[in-house]
């Protein structure tokens, strides 16, 4: 009986301890030749989801190749930037971590992130191997604080069934803004029954979609380095007029909430809208949630000022404290691996993300998946999709401007200067 109790205790204890151990990537048994073992804490904004599993797998790949370095994965599933900032404040930040663009102007500017230039040069890693528009996001004053791990941009996702039913040709990669608007009108199917209305497109009240038209009409948005507002001009007013005309003039567009959805990916999956401007992240979502939908992806329309694809990206970077701890070289090695060709090919081949290395343009997956290659090929016209420390306030000011015009509270000519004024007061006046 006593023995049974003891056995039970062992089992219970093991049950408690083993799941804790499972939080970490399992270190590969080190080769006995290691002079010293190095441990690296790694964090990313991923948890118990597909991305978390992918990171764990990539860390295991790294440890197999580098048996003297052990990594411990500590995912931060929500409010990543806020959490990581408190960790920096308490000196408890991870050694290697996801670096978002705003972090370059917070932690990077304050010298809290490791400048990778020296280590990249030593390891023979060329920064020119990365898509320049993406790399630039993580560079400040000549320092490189992160290497882009993957990226996304917008494309026109179209529902083939709706196009076929209307006998309309699928959109090409060279749609003009006028053609896109006409297409949305042709695809719009009104009905007295609200649940049967099919909208041509959706133009949500957020800057994530609107920014492509700001760039497309020739406006800039915000300089993340100087905080100079770039959208208070006539081109931005034209962009806002164009963006809101789908809903106000043509009635060919609406917002997801109007049709009872949280985001336009759901509206698209349910067949309530024929075209949406979304990123590569929509593809796996559609495959998992709406497997029956037949869809294609074209590049976003070309504006009067040319093609402008906002790029959204994150990087792997490291804490500057790794220098003191003597682990900076190992941290850099891990970053180079996680953003290098082996890992990026793996991520591309499983359809997880677009690679940041143009050399992977000829990857078999991209060749056989035109929806992914169309998005990938936009990298040559990539524009800044984030605005450093001014990211959230810029997006909010422009999102509010769209809402004001949609609600008829202001015209585009009034809303754009008002948004610029609001933003300016937030940038300059705060003590």
């Amino acid at each position: 009986m006593r023995l049974t109790k003891r056995s039970l205790s062992v089992v219970v204890l093991a049950g408690l301890v083993l799941p804790l151990g499972a939080q970490y990537s399992s270190p590969t048994r080190a080769a006995s030749t290691c002079a010293s073992r190095i441990g690296l804490n790694v964090s990313g904004s991923s948890g118990a989801n597909q991305e978390g599993d992918i990171v764990r797998h990539e860390l295991d790949m790294f440890m197999k190749a580098n048996p003297c370095i052990t990594t411990f994965f500590r995912p931060i599933p929500t409010t990543y930037e806020q959490k990581i900032q408190t960790e920096f404040a308490s000196g408890d930040e991870p050694d290697v971590m996801y670096v978002s663009p705003p972090m370059i102007y917070n932690e990077g500017k304050a010298g809290k992130l490791l400048d990778l230039n020296k280590y990249l040069a030593k390891d023979g890693v060329k920064t020119s191997a990365y898509i320049p528009a993406l790399l630039k996001v993580f560079q400040l004053n000549g320092h490189t604080y992160g290497l882009p791990k993957d990226w996304g941009t917008l494309g026109v996702f179209y529902n083939k069934a709706i196009f076929d039913a209307k006998h309309i040709a699928y959109p090409s990669n060279n749609l003009t803004y006028d053609q896109y608007r006409t297409l949305a009108m042709q695809l719009y199917t009104p009905s007295s029954n609200p649940s049967k209305v099919v909208y041509g497109t959706m133009m949500p009240e957020d800057n994530g979609r609107f920014m492509t038209f700001l760039y497309g009409f020739g406006s800039t948005i915000m300089d993340p380095v100087t905080g100079k507002i770039g959208f208070n001009n006539a081109n931005a007013i034209k962009a806002l007029d164009y963006y809101t005309s789908f809903q106000l003039t043509d009635h060919s567009s609406t917002i997801p909430a109007t049709v009872g959805d949280g985001w336009q990916g759901d509206s698209f999956g349910k067949g309530k809208v024929a075209m949406v401007l979304e990123g590569g992240w929509l593809t796996p979502y559609l495959h998992n949630t709406y497997p029956k939908i037949r869809f294609g992806v074209a590049q976003i329309p070309v504006g009067p000022a040319g093609r402008a694809d906002p790029v959204f990206t994150n990087a792997w970077g490291a804490s500057v404290n790794t220098v003191k701890a003597g682990t900076a070289a190992a941290a850099a090695k891990l970053i180079e691996f996680l953003t290098g060709p082996v890992v990026q090919k793996y991520q591309t081949d499983i359809g997880f993300a677009l690679p940041t290395l143009p050399a992977l343009q000829s990857d078999p997956y991209l060749k056989t998946h035109p929806e992914a290659s169309n998005l990938f090929n936009s990298y040559t016209s990539g524009k800044l999709g984030s605005f450093g420390a001014y990211d959230s306030i810029t997006n909010k000011a422009l999102g509010d401007a769209i809402t004001k015009v949609i609600l008829g509270k202001q015209t585009a000519a009034q809303a754009i200067p008002a948004a610029a004024k609001t933003l300016q007061s937030q940038i300059t006046a705060v003590p």
């Binding site: 960790e87 917070n106 009240e205 109007t258 009872g260 509010d400 609001t422 006046a429």
Partner: protein, 317 residues
């Protein structure tokens, strides 16, 4: 002589006196020892945090990034300047304006509804226990869960608009229309908070002296008279408590906003606490956020004092 007399009159601590003093001291020490865990937690996480927050409001702080810099009252000057010159776009100012409207309607709504519930459940009804449970249920449900449920109810194609469409009423897009978003959240808040206050009213109703009612009935008072001239006045202390707690709760509204609207559309549902969160944790202006919190504290304090003055709680019966 006087001195001698005074010396004589001075109490001489006897053995018994000393023993009772010792006992009292021991009793007090025991009491404080029992209170110690609570006092420690209160001093650390409430008083300490409040004092720290107040000190923070005098600094420019961006944790983990810059070294905190003392800037005196600059954060408060900024708030005042924005309130005067940028009122239409100043989120915290808009939040204060919203919360006054919100508090006014929510407090009236929840007090009236709580009293109605309490009066109903104070009657000897059949299935009263079941009814009490049903009414009280929203209060014990997590506010995040309730908020998510209401997001679906308020959805353009949700249950509320579906119900309205039966009567050929085209319901609004509740949470995406600046005119209806705040009222929609108010209704939800009244629905979820009223049952908690109902308990207080119910307890107070059951403690009212029966003799007063009997005397009034003998004098020919009607049911409404009993309610108007006996129940309501005697419930004043409870009402003050409910109004005060309700006001503080309304001024601190955050979770419903964070879950349902994030302050939108067009700042129509932004509240002071949401604005503080936005300033401190999204824009990283911790000092400014702390100064907003200090202003909010002052406002709540003044409002509570005013309420105390107008609702006389000194009832003797």
């Amino acid at each position: 002589m006087d001195a001698t007399m005074q010396t004589k009159q001075a109490p001489v601590p006897t053995f018994t006196h000393r023993r009772s003093l010792k006992r009292a001291l021991r009793r007090n020490i025991t009491a404080y020892l029992f209170l110690l865990p609570f006092l420690f937690l209160m001093c650390t996480f409430i008083l300490g945090a409040a004092v720290f927050g107040l000190a923070l409001s005098l600094y420019h702080v961006n944790y983990g990034i810059d070294t905190p810099r003392f800037i005196g009252l600059d954060n408060f000057r900024y708030l005042w300047d924005q309130f005067q010159n940028n009122r239409d776009n100043f989120e915290f100012g808009i939040g204060l304006k919203n919360i006054v409207v919100y508090a006014f309607f929510v407090i009236i709504g929840q007090t009236v509804l709580a009293l109605s519930y309490a009066l109903l459940l104070n009657q000897p009804l059949k299935g009263r226990s079941l009814l009490r449970t049903a009414i009280y249920l929203p209060s014990v449900t997590s506010s995040v869960a309730i908020s998510l449920i209401f997001v679906y109810l308020y959805n353009n194609g949700g249950a509320i608009n579906a119900f309205l469409s039966i009567f050929h009423i085209h319901g609004p897009d509740w949470l995406n229309n600046p005119n209806t978003a705040l009222p929609a959240i108010m209704i939800m808040n009244v629905y979820t908070t009223a049952p908690t206050f109902m308990i207080l009213f119910l307890a107070a109703l059951q403690g009212l002296p029966v003799s007063l009612y009997e005397a009034a009935k003998v004098d020919g008072a009607s049911g409404f008279d009993l309610f108007r001239y006996i129940t309501l006045p005697l419930l004043r202390p409870t009402m003050f408590l409910i109004v005060a707690v309700g006001t503080i709760g309304a001024f601190q509204t955050f979770d419903q906003i964070a879950v349902m609207t994030q302050g939108g559309p067009l700042n129509a549902t932004v509240t002071p606490v949401y604005s503080i969160y936005d300033t401190a944790f999204k824009q990283y202006h911790y000092g400014l956020g702390a100064s907003m919190a200090a202003v909010l504290f002052a406002i709540i304090l003044v409002v509570t004092l005013i309420q105390r003055r107008f609702i006389d709680t000194n009832i003797q019966y």
